[in-house]
Point group: C2
Chain length 390, copies 2
């Protein structure tokens, strides 16, 4: 092992190519792009041309894992194979940073997490939105008690516009077999992670409503409204969609001491001079309400390249220079929320958390079996420009 | 009949006293305060002192209806008696303007509407928020097609803060027997009316979740999250509460041609240069979305006293000078939404619209029968200062 972490990229699609580029540019101190793997020869040729001969290329991820040429890998393959590739890499003694989502169904991700626990390696997940100073600040205000007990969490995050041409760009896209879901599996995983990470709360049960192929010729969900209940009595609504133009991204969290709203990159805190519970206990008038101060919360500048920031932190964590900010084991939380939302829509009823992994797995398999998605498989290999996405 | 409409007020509680005051001050051209009725002698004494001997007083509403001293009445009694009083007044040949809500359950309100249709009199309802230029403008942008087909309607209207002391101020407050509900019956009726009036859409079914006595010692709902589906495929969320501090009032309506947001008294229109459906049909790229223009929509100044504006319009409609803006028969729409939300929470399932009136009536009666509300009935007569309320 050299003093620099030798990093391999598994899968040179949209995300993998991007990670390779900043690694090759030397933008992750302590880390170096050592190898890439992809089943498509043309992607490997592209990598050779882009990064030079010092970067090894493999058509097989397993071969790269066993090559002795890498110390850690970034898993950037399609969603379904994340757990399988992660387990293989960990068992080969490598550190792993996996792209979101952790997997497609929790049953599989649990096995991955067990493998990670047994491996003694550093296992991270690309929750790059956790580096966003806006959400970090919200989390801090909740963790330090500034907001008081959380009572309501409303997130309207419908700014994931995707046209039919986007869906048509890959035969695997927006199919039960190819992605295992739609907006919940591809676009919203960051939001679902932040929903629980910022608040520190997971719901006890969920009731969700999904539009499948709404205004689009796809079979999976692309419009979701979910209602959540929490053990402390709080409630929440999560709304996401790929067909709203323009969408909204507004996260509102109300607590006993006021309200936080993140919108348009700004964080506003309506702070009560006395907590609501105390005001209510002592107030003797008619229509009064607690005195409220509107505060523009200063949000520090963040790392402009959030993916790079996560990779840097993962490299630093491996070197023992920093705690890991996005542990891979936490990927199951947002995934459980996504699975619960789909299961609620499928069964037209409540879904309790923790989720029944086996039931979800069965229901998903039934949809894969019944799928009539007959897309042009030849388009599957096209790599889109992901600028402006997350 | 004089050339001026002689108006009687039924019930000198919070709202009735306010209506009497602006009428007595001559602020409704063509209308004059002629009489008031209330079962409480002290309220009639207050009226005599405030308005002089020219205003007749009655302890019985029926006596006032049959007196020949009034041509029209404002019904400002507790919610439950709105239909009964309205029917009696119409049958006595009087025009009627009823306070919101139209009643407490649709079964009763249907009978009221039939009586109104048969009466040939002008029957209005105090939906004073329909005079709000913000909502009038939103409605106009939808009616004229500027927004295109409505796809999503999210209203977070949680700024109905009420303390325990408010609820304790009247024994009838926030009980199944006294008000027939909580926030849906007392605070949100305007919002529920606007939800359908602004959009011109009634849902086909509703799934709602209610907190009963949340953070308050009351038996009725004071925290509601409702999900609605419409026949055109649109969906909506309506969130209301009396315990959020500070609350939010943000109405977002997305259509095929963009998005309208009303918040903080401002109306913003994100207008697409080409409708979403057209963009989606013709766009061939990857992650693109329609070009959007952010427009601050000018909102004309409105009548500062919205109640007075509704009363003026009702008087003008009776005189044939203007169309009636808030027909009493339309009160059933928002009430049906409120009833559907409660019924969904009670039955823990979907409620189809039009509502099953008989089922709702039975379920409400069961709650009245099972009620353990044992409040201080002596406080029932206290009149609160309603400044700042609606």
């Amino acid at each position: 092992m050299t003093t620099e972490l030798r990093i391999g990229i598994v899968g040179l699609g949209n995300m993998g190519s991007g990670h390779a580029a900043y690694l090759a540019a030397g933008e992750v101190p302590g880390g170096v792009l050592a190898a890439v793997s992809d089943v498509r020869e043309e992607r490997l040729s592209w990598a050779k041309a882009a990064f030079g001969d010092s970067v090894k290329t493999y058509t097989s991820a397993r071969e790269m894992f066993d090559s002795g040429e890498v110390d850690g890998v970034l898993i950037c393959t399609p969603h379904y194979s994340h757990p399988e590739e992660t387990i293989a890499a960990l068992q080969a003694g490598l550190h792993v940073l996996v792209e979101k989502p952790a997997g497609v169904y929790t049953k599989q991700v649990k096995i991955m997490n067990e493998a990670a626990a047994a491996s003694g390696r550093v296992f991270g997940i690309m929750f790059n939105q956790r580096t966003n100073p806006l959400y970090r600040k919200m989390r801090e205000l909740i963790q330090t008690g500034e907001l008081g007990d959380v009572r309501r969490i409303n997130w309207i995050v419908t700014d994931w516009y995707r046209s039919q041409s986007y869906y048509d760009s890959g035969g695997w896209r927006a199919t039960w077999e190819g992605e295992g879901g739609g907006v919940l599996m591809n676009q919203s995983p960051h939001n679902l992670d932040l929903w629980q990470w910022v608040t520190g709360l997971m719901p006890t049960r969920i009731r969700a409503f999904c539009g499948f192929g709404k205004h689009r010729d796809i079979e999976v969900e692309n419009d979701v409204t979910a209602y959540a209940e929490y053990s402390n009595g709080a409630t929440g609504v999560f709304i996401t969609s790929t067909v709203d133009a323009p969408g909204t991204n507004r996260l509102e969290i109300t607590g006993d001491r006021g309200k936080l709203v993140a919108e348009d990159g700004k964080l506003t805190f309506w702070r009560l001079r006395t907590p609501e519970s105390e005001f209510n206990r002592t107030y003797a008038g008619g229509f009064g309400s607690p005195e409220t101060w509107r505060i523009d919360v200063p949000v520090p500048g963040g790392e402009p390249n959030q993916h790079r920031a996560v990779t840097r932190n993962w490299v630093d964590a491996i070197a023992g220079r920093a705690p890991l900010e996005s542990p891979g084991e936490e990927g199951i939380k947002g995934l459980a929320l996504a699975n619960a939302m789909l299961l609620s829509a499928w069964t037209d009823g409540w879904v309790e958390l923790p989720l029944d992994d086996e039931q979800y797995y069965r229901e998903l398999q039934a949809r894969i079996a019944a799928s009539t998605a007959g897309k042009d498989q030849a388009a599957a290999g096209r790599t889109l420009d992901v600028k402006g996405t997350h």
